[in-house]
């Protein structure tokens, strides 16, 4: 049943135009879109109420509902989620191969709509961890209030809002989207696909989380929803504006969730690499396919329940009002028909992650792979038949209790099979206790406790005593914290090297685990006791006899807080400064470990071939998949140690930004290494050397693997010399435009092709671009301020000297010191002479291999230095004056003008007679 990843029309040249519009453009649009949305949302209900003469005109919750919906749409339209589809709808030309919003080339690309699943994955993860902090702060406030009996910090309404917000944020904005984010990054690579099936839908799923999330997280500001995350009616119907925000936001994040699930489902069903049969899919893929089905079938029910509550509130429908013929219990049936499967939506992807990690770090195949896969599906199907076990005391039809108890008990069986299979996986393995493995093992311990307390709650007579007490709080946290959150941390540590290209700090990772593991158990285990003793949940005030235990619990949470701070510090520091990650730090077998860290823009240059199961550890020569290099560079297997080389041939254009940009872009698309050959026949060897140094410095700073040398002789000799020394897969030839290029006149392309037998890419560089200083870090932007000193040998020597020590980009500013009006003939003459001198100096520098540009200004030296710094970004300035002209005052003026930029003063001897 293997499928074939769709190939693009130009299979390996995703030569895509990158959208150049800046961030400010998108965010201005988003801001305007939101404002327009608010205005429209205000207008619609006002208009209809006015036209139909409805009184009163102002019904706040109705207006808020419409405004929140239209503002969300406005934001999404503004940020650009619908651009492509709108173009299509309006009949404009669209290209199916439009990758203009694909891939990240700088940090800015993470702050706008992007269709690259890897960028979206990281966008998800950063966003959900932001909400993790928000939800954590709510939790700490709840615990602070509970540290002593009676009410101290907040009043009853605010307290109800706090725990409601804590639960909602953690469920809808952390656990569920965190799994979506991890899978977004990893899953397409795992199945050998170049992206998700619907990249633009993928972007929309993520961006919906932003308005939805802000509504949920910010509602405490306007009087939060205080009916619990379960929002039972009729209490929810009594709610305030916060409740409206909750009901609208659940629709938004629910829609996001459904769209993401459809995307995963289609991706998994249709985009698996050849050879990846269902029994060769990694268990994370199984888990996500199953979870996606749960989301698609389940989420419409919570959407329905919240719509009906909302309509009861703003439209005076009577769905849940017994006085109007409604049914209170019906809400709970509809709600739990989603929210029980939601428990598995929050657990199954975690099971998948744990299976991956246990196999990798035990160096053993997953024990009972098929049993694990089947039990995942079994749990998902049974999960729809147990919803009423949340309602044993609700007053529902009493005959439902025994069947629901039995189905619930049956679910414990596949769950048990999973736990035992994991134990079977680590048994007799070679355990490497790295941070992800610690989380996975810790998860087994805490999840077993959560699973067993679940059996207590499934048993109706026991549940009648324990439901709605702290026993349930303990159970839910053992399942969601000890279960879901542990697996999320496990996954984040496991794939951190893949996602960021850097290694996290192992020691601090383990400290984070132990603090959280101990903190979690001492915080939540005592809650079982509170529940047995009869302390109800969702109360700010409680019996004196529970005081000591609650104080202990509140203090225990400090361990988790410290652990979490360490986690964030570790992640932030390692992401910026951690050591570079190899392709496969854990020696995993699945496809994501067979590509670079982070993977290239389109993951695979050629469609990979799956040849075996995903966890064949310990079997001599067994492998899961083979990743290939593209056909046109010779095919063959692609591995980390075997990088493909592109030979770059360029002479005067070596340091041009056109060429360097092209190389940077190319390097993102695959595991390329670049070797420069700079031919220097009959020219100044030093100049070629200097240009090459500039180019290599820029590329090194951009993280591109490049080296090279200046070769004596013409371009063909240069190519032949390199080809003799190392295997080359492709040649990149940079020239001036045809007509201006000596090389092109000599049929260089054909001759190079004949000489190498390789594909040749020509990069055309404009003349002015070739001589302008290369942008980007790695090259020092040097400002040169000189007037009379222009054209002296001393000046040229001094600059060349510095360029030998460090790659330079020179900006020459010549101050004329004009005192009179600037439009007189005299002034023009002076100016023309200066321009002439400056041009000659720049020409000399360029010939010497120092990229240079310049300008002549009317002002004095201080003004010139200021122009160099502000307009050209000079990082250092050299002021040249002629010997004997003093100039100390000038130096001081320049220093004062551009402090704290460093100013160097160089005195040179007067030039030989002008006109030479």
């Amino acid at each position: 049943m293997a499928t074939f990843a769709p190939t693009h029309q130009e299979p390996h040249h995703h030569h895509h135009e990158v959208d150049k519009r800046p961030l400010s453009y998108w965010w201005t649009r988003a801001f305007v879109g939101t404002i327009v949305g608010i205005a429209v949302g205000f207008f619609i209900p006002w208009f209809f109420r006015f036209v139909f003469g409805m009184e009163p005109l102002w019904v706040p919750e109705l207006y808020y509902t419409v405004i929140l919906s239209t503002a969300t749409l406005g934001f999404l339209a503004g940020i650009g989620c619908f651009d492509y589809w709108m173009k299509y709808i309006l009949g404009h030309r669209v290209s199916y191969e439009d990758h203009s919003m694909h891939g990240a080339y700088s940090w800015r690309d993470y702050f706008k709509v992007n269709t690259d699943h890897k960028v979206i994955g990281i966008q998800y993860m950063v966003t959900v961890f932001f909400f993790f902090i928000v939800g954590g702060v709510f939790a700490e406030l709840v615990r602070a209030e509970l540290s002593t009996p009676g009410q101290q910090l907040v009043d009853g309404e605010d307290y109800n809002g706090l725990f409601s917000s804590h639960a909602t944020v953690m469920i809808f904005l952390f656990v569920i989207p965190a799994f979506a984010g991890l899978a977004n990054y990893i899953l397409p690579i795992m199945i050998g696909a170049k992206d998700m099936a619907f990249p633009r839908l993928n972007a929309l799923s993520f961006w919906m989380l932003i308005p939805g999330g802000l509504l949920l997280a910010a509602s405490p500001i306007v009087g939060s929803y205080s009916a619990g995350w379960t929002a039972y009616t009729p209490l929810a119907v009594q709610g305030s504006t916060g409740q409206t925000m909750f009901e609208v936001a659940v629709q938004i994040v629910g829609t996001s969730s459904i769209m993401a699930a459809i995307n995963f489902m289609v991706t998994i069903f249709t985009m698996r690499a050849p050879g990846m049969t269902v029994w060769r899919m990694p268990l994370l893929v199984w888990a996500n396919a199953t979870t996606s089905a749960l989301v698609i079938f389940g989420t419409p029910f919570i959407a329905g329940s919240q719509f009906m509550t909302l309509f009861d509130r703003i439209m005076n429908t009577q769905f849940f009002n017994p006085v109007g013929g409604g049914d209170v219990i019906m809400y709970q049936h509809v709600f739990w028909f989603y929210s029980h499967p939601a428990v598995y939506i929050m657990m199954l992807p975690g099971f998948g992650i744990i299976s991956e990690i246990l196999a990798t770090f035990s160096r053993k195949p997953v024990f009972g792979y098929r049993a694990l896969a089947f039990s995942t599906v079994a749990i998902a199907i049974l999960g729809f038949g147990v919803w009423a076990h949340h309602m044993f005391v609700s007053g529902m039809a009493s005959w439902l209790r025994i069947p629901m108890m039995l189905t619930t008990i049956v679910i414990a069986i596949p769950t048990g099979v999973k736990v035992f299979s994991w134990l079977g996986t680590i048994w007799d393995g070679k355990l490497h206790l790295k941070t992800p493995m610690l989380w996975a093992l810790g998860f087994i311990f805490t999840f077993v406790i959560g699973g067993l307390s679940g059996v207590y709650l499934a048993t109706v007579p026991i549940d009648i005593a324990l439901t709605d007490t702290y026993f349930v709080v303990a159970h839910i946290h053992y399942v969601f914290f000890g279960g879901s959150v542990f697996t999320i941390f496990a996954g984040v540590y496991y794939w951190f090297p893949k996602m960021t290209g850097r290694m996290y700090n192992e020691t601090w990772g383990q400290v984070h685990f132990w603090l959280t593991f101990v903190g979690m158990n001492v915080t939540f285990f005592p809650m079982h006791w509170l529940g047995f003793q009869g302390m109800p949940r969702r109360v700010a005030d409680y019996d004196e006899r529970f005081a000591a235990m609650n104080e202990f619990i509140t203090m225990s949470t400090a361990l988790m807080v410290v652990g979490t701070l360490i986690f964030f510090a570790n992640m932030a520091y390692s992401w910026a400064k951690g050591p570079k990650a190899p392709w496969n730090p854990w020696r995993g077998r699945t496809l994501e470990w067979l590509v670079s860290s982070p993977p290239s823009t389109f993951n695979f240059e050629a469609t990979p071939q799956v040849v075996g199961g995903p966890y064949q550890y310990g079997i001599e020569g067994a492998r899961h998949a083979v990743v290939f290099a593209p056909e046109e560079i010779g095919g063959g297997e692609l591995t980390e140690t075997e990088r493909r080389t592109i030979l770059v041939v360029a002479s005067e254009t070596v340091s041009s930004s056109t060429l360097l940009d092209e190389i940077r872009r190319k390097s993102k698309e695959g595991p390329w290494r670049f070797t420069f050959a700079v031919p220097a026949k009959g020219r100044d060897h030093r100049s070629a050397e200097r240009r090459l140094q500039v180019a290599l410095a820029v590329l090194a700073e951009a993280g591109v693997d490049a080296n090279g040398s200046v070769v004596d002789g013409g371009p063909i000799e240069a190519i032949e010399k390199v080809v003799e020394e190392e295997p080359v897969q492709e040649v990149m030839l940079a020239t001036y435009p045809s007509g201006q290029s000596g090389w092109m006149e000599n049929d260089m392309l054909d001759r190079a092709r004949k000489a190498t037998g390789l594909g040749i890419t020509r990069v055309v560089v404009r003349r002015d671009d070739a001589v302008a200083p290369a942008p980007g870090s790695g090259v020092v932007a040097l400002g040169v301020v000189a007037n009379d000193a222009l054209g002296t040998d001393g000046l040229g020597a001094a600059i060349r000297n510095r360029a030998d020590q460090q790659p330079l980009g020179v900006t020459l500013i010549c101050p004329l010191n004009l005192t009179g009006p600037g439009w007189t003939d005299d002034a023009s003459k002076v100016r023309d002479e200066a321009v002439d001198r400056a041009q000659r100096t720049i020409g000399d520098l360029v010939d010497a291999g120092v990229p240079a540009q310049g300008e002549v200004i009317d002002g004095d030296e201080a003004a010139a230095a200021r122009v160099a710094v502000t307009a050209y970004g000079a990082e250092r300035v050299i002021l040249f004056t002629l010997r004997g002209e003093g100039g100390e005052a000038t130096v001081e003026a320049v220093r004062a003008a551009i402090a704290p930029v460093e100013v160097e003063h160089v005195v040179v001897d007067a030039a030989a007679p002008a006109g030479s």
Binding site: G156, N160, A227, Y232, P234, L235, Q238, P322, V323, G326, D327, V328, I329, R363, K364, P365, F367, G368, Y369, R370, A371, V393, S394, G395, I402, M405, I409, V410, I413, G416, V417, L423, G424, I426, W427, D428, G429, K430, L431, L433, V448, L452, V455, Y456, T459, V460, P461, I462, I464, A465, D468, W529, F532, Q533, G534, P536, R538, D543, R587, G618
Partner: protein, 256 residues
């Protein structure tokens, strides 16, 4: 299998974990006193469940701890473990054994549930009304003059059927010592059967989030000897009659 090098250390670890688990169960006073027949039935079922779950917990934890100690890779050991993909006999065993335990528990729990639902002929019926944020209890059946109180009075040894209504949102009547809880739902009359078997005063707690005053919505359940209970009924009715010539009290507001 028994002569494997793993057997002895695994047994030792299992014994240590078992000792700790049993100590944790026995040394801590987990549950409050029991004051109803339903609580006693709950207690026996709970003991079975605790024993079964402790068994599973000990097995999993012992294997986990032993694996981490025994199978940890030596530093620099890059080799793989044995390519063991599964063991059908073992997998069937660990599917069937829990199934048997769970089935036993399911049957037992169903029996307890059916027993708890059985109505006695001589039961006392008391009406319960809940509202944000107070309880009130009304005696109407079997008394000459209906009356209302803010606390629940129950006769020792005789079944009481609570007929419960809510005037606004969902509440839940919960008495930890009875091990019973039942939601009180607007638009429905829900019932709760309790056979109190221990004289005393126990808290009535609202267990379903019902708004700002949820945490303070409390009352008392007072279990008294049959004689005292009859005395209480007589006194309460006389009080109503003296207060108000003929009109019976209505469930308008709680008057504790």
């Amino acid at each position: 299998m028994l002569r494997s090098r793993h057997t002895l250390p695994l047994i030792v670890i299992t014994l240590v974990v078992s000792a700790l688990t049993v100590a944790g169960i026995m040394l801590i006073e987990w549950t409050p006193e029991r004051a109803s027949v339903q609580a006693d039935r709950y207690w026996v079922l709970l003991l079975f469940l605790v024993a079964a779950s402790a068994l599973i917990f000990v097995i999993v934890t012992a294997v986990l701890i032993y694996s981490v100690i025994a199978f940890r890779a030596k530093k620099g050991d890059e080799s793989d473990g044995p390519p063991n993909h599964g063991n059908t006999a073992l997998e069937i065993t660990w599917t069937v054994l829990p199934t048997i335990l769970l089935a036993a528990m399911g049957v037992w729990a169903s029996i307890v549930l059916i027993q708890n639902d059985r109505r006695d002929a001589d039961r006392e019926t008391i009406e319960v009304t809940s509202q944000q944020f107070a309880w009130s209890f009304t005696w109407r059946d079997g008394v000459r003059t209906p009356f209302e109180t803010g606390d629940l009075y129950l006769p020792l040894g005789r079944q009481v059927e609570l007929k419960m209504r809510s005037t606004d949102v969902i509440h839940s009547l919960y008495v930890p010592e009875f091990r019973l809880k039942q939601d009180v739902v607007p638009g429905l009359t829900t019932t709760m059967l309790v056979n109190a078997n221990k004289v005393g005063t126990y808290p009535i707690i609202c267990a379903e989030l019902c708004g700002v005053g949820h945490g303070t919505m409390r009352a008392r359940a007072i279990v008294m000897e049959e004689d005292d209970y009859q005395q209480f009924l007589a006194d309460s009715q006389r009080e109503v009659r003296t207060q108000d010539g003929s009109t019976p009290a209505t469930a308008s507001a709680a008057t504790p």
